[in-house]
């Protein structure tokens, strides 16, 4: 058995054992899907936008992935405070192996969470228009999961404790979601909002994922994939670098 695998496995075990956490983290996407999805549905239709659940569901699935992934990464703070991080950092293995194992584990957990939300969306009336493109949709889920776990790792590596947690939540995670075009169509918006949406990495995730599930993609799936791929590599590099600099 190797180091990357066992650390990845650890993340998965922890996820499946914390059942209250799984259910808890389903609450928010579910709330958005039901309250916002069904609440704005009629207005969206009247404005000529079509079926709102079809539009919203991809964004909600990625929202679940975003939250789970960032938190998986941030778990480093807990591991550090409860000492377990030390156990891995003094072992005769490279830091890169450790961060890779943790990130892959976190990303896998996030994808599983995304799948659960996808199933809920299907029950709520969402349908996949182009099943043939589903592997591409999976690729988008995977890239988003990896990218945001790496982001969480980067944050968790520089923070000493959980004091800054609300800050991360309100100034990083929530804006990433709200400015991603997950809730509303991007065209016809004020300039400032347009810019915010363009710099949000999740925008390209939502756009491409939506396209791959059979809805309209604004930038084109290929372009989305490329941008997302590049951003994922960059964030993985930053996350690994910051992790390698952790001092005990």
């Amino acid at each position: 058995m190797n180091v990357i695998y066992i650390l990845c496995l650890r993340q998965l075990k922890r996820y499946f054992r914390a059942r209250s956490r799984i259910i808890g983290s389903l609450g928010q996407p579910l709330l958005f899907l039901l309250a916002v999805g069904f609440g704005f549905g009629p207005t969206f239709k009247k404005a000529g936008g079509g079926n709102y659940i079809q539009f919203l569901a991809p964004g909600i699935i990625l929202m679940g992935i975003l939250f789970t992934a960032v938190f998986s990464g941030i778990e480093i703070i807990w591991d550090r405070q409860f000492g377990f991080l030390k156990e891995t950092l003094v072992a005769p293995v490279s830091r890169f192996q450790i961060v890779l194992g943790r990130t892959l584990g976190g990303a896998t957990v996030a994808i599983i969470q995304g799948f659960i939300i996808l199933v809920i969306c299907l029950i709520a009336g969402f349908h996949i228009e182009k099943p043939a493109l589903f592997p591409v949709a999976l690729l988008f889920m995977f890239l988003c999961a990896l990218m945001f776990t790496a982001l969480g790792t980067a944050i968790g590596s520089v923070l000493e404790d959980m004091q800054a947690f609300p800050l991360i939540m309100n100034f990083i995670v929530m804006p990433l979601f709200f400015f991603s075009g997950a809730l509303f169509p991007v065209h016809g918006l004020p300039k400032a909002l347009q810019i915010a949406i363009r710099v949000d990495p999740l925008t390209y995730g939502v756009d491409g994922f939506r396209g791959a599930l059979g809805e309209v993609s604004l930038f084109g799936i290929g372009m989305d994939l490329m941008i997302l791929g590049i951003l994922t590599v960059i964030l993985l590099a930053i996350g690994s670098y910051l992790f390698s600099r952790i001092q005990l």
Binding site: V3, G83, K86, T88, P92, M162
Partner: protein
């Protein structure tokens, strides 16, 4: 006897403050070496430098012939560490904690299985092997950490206040394992403690450190003779003075409180 740990003129500065101030000492292979000192004397800082966690400001260290700064991996493979603070994953079972450790240290699956059973029986946790570590008492966690530190058969084991906060029964038990291991497997033991009678009973050799400097070292008897005292505790007080040292709460202490409030682990 060959030297397992050699420290020469070691210095660690934090800003202008000398946490470790030109310290030299040796530990022979197979020896039980006790490192004593009041709070904030620099014990943990020295352990951190010996175990590759912290880089020294200057001076040289050899652990099993390797330099902890340059040959991190070699040093890490030949040592086992029990930290002052717990470092187990509470959300995993005792068995899983050991498995993970074994994989990290490259112990083969077969050896892992054999040794895990042997060690868990030794520290009397075999019956609890499938329980989550978060449900263990402080003493059980300590015993598990000692078993874990021995899983990869290190040549040296570092124990930073291994018996802190444990009842006399558990302390006795833990020192018995350590002495057994030291005799049977010839493992070199490097430990710190506040309990003087413990050090007196267990250690072959003792060094007393205060304000970053070694103030005395030798066999326990010699230290008592040096200060003309009855017990090691008296010798210790005579050597380090009566003043009580101030120590700030670390972030981990504060976090642990917060963690309890949040109901995690």
């Amino acid at each position: 006897m060959s030297e397992m740990i050699e420290v020469h003129d070691l210095v660690k500065k934090f800003g202008d403050f000398y946490a470790v101030d030109h310290v030299s000492f040796q530990v022979s292979a197979g020896e039980i070496f006790g490192f004593l000192g009041p709070n904030g004397a620099g014990k943990t800082t020295i352990i951190k430098m010996l175990t590759t966690i912290l880089k020294p400001t200057s001076g040289s260290i050899r652990v099993d012939g390797h330099d902890p700064v340059r040959d991190q991996h070699q040093v890490r493979s030949s040592i086992g560490i029990v930290f002052q603070d717990p470092s187990l994953d509470g959300d995993m079972t005792a068995l899983e904690n050991l498995q993970l450790h074994g994989v990290l240290y490259g112990v083969s699956a077969e050896d892992r299985k054999d040794r895990t059973e042997k060690l868990l029986r030794l520290v009397q946790l075999w019956d609890r092997r499938k329980d989550f570590v978060k449900n263990f008492s402080g003493g059980m966690k300590r015993r598990l950490e000692i078993a874990r530190a021995l899983l990869h058969e290190p040549k040296i084991i570092f124990l930073d206040e291994p018996t802190l906060g444990l009842d006399p029964q558990t302390r006795n038990l833990i020192w018995n394992y350590i002495r057994t291991l030291n005799k049977d497997k010839n493992i070199t033991v490097f430990f710190t403690t506040h309990y003087m009678e413990e050090a007196d009973r267990v250690a072959d050799e003792i060094a007393i450190i205060d304000q970053g400097k070694i103030v005395a070292n030798g066999v326990p008897g010699a230290l008592k003779e040096l200060t003309h005292s009855e017990s090691l505790e008296d010798a210790f007080i005579l050597l380090t003075g009566y003043a009580i040292r101030a120590e700030e709460a670390s972030t981990s202490d504060r976090m642990r409180t917060l963690g309890k409030v949040w109901g995690r682990r």
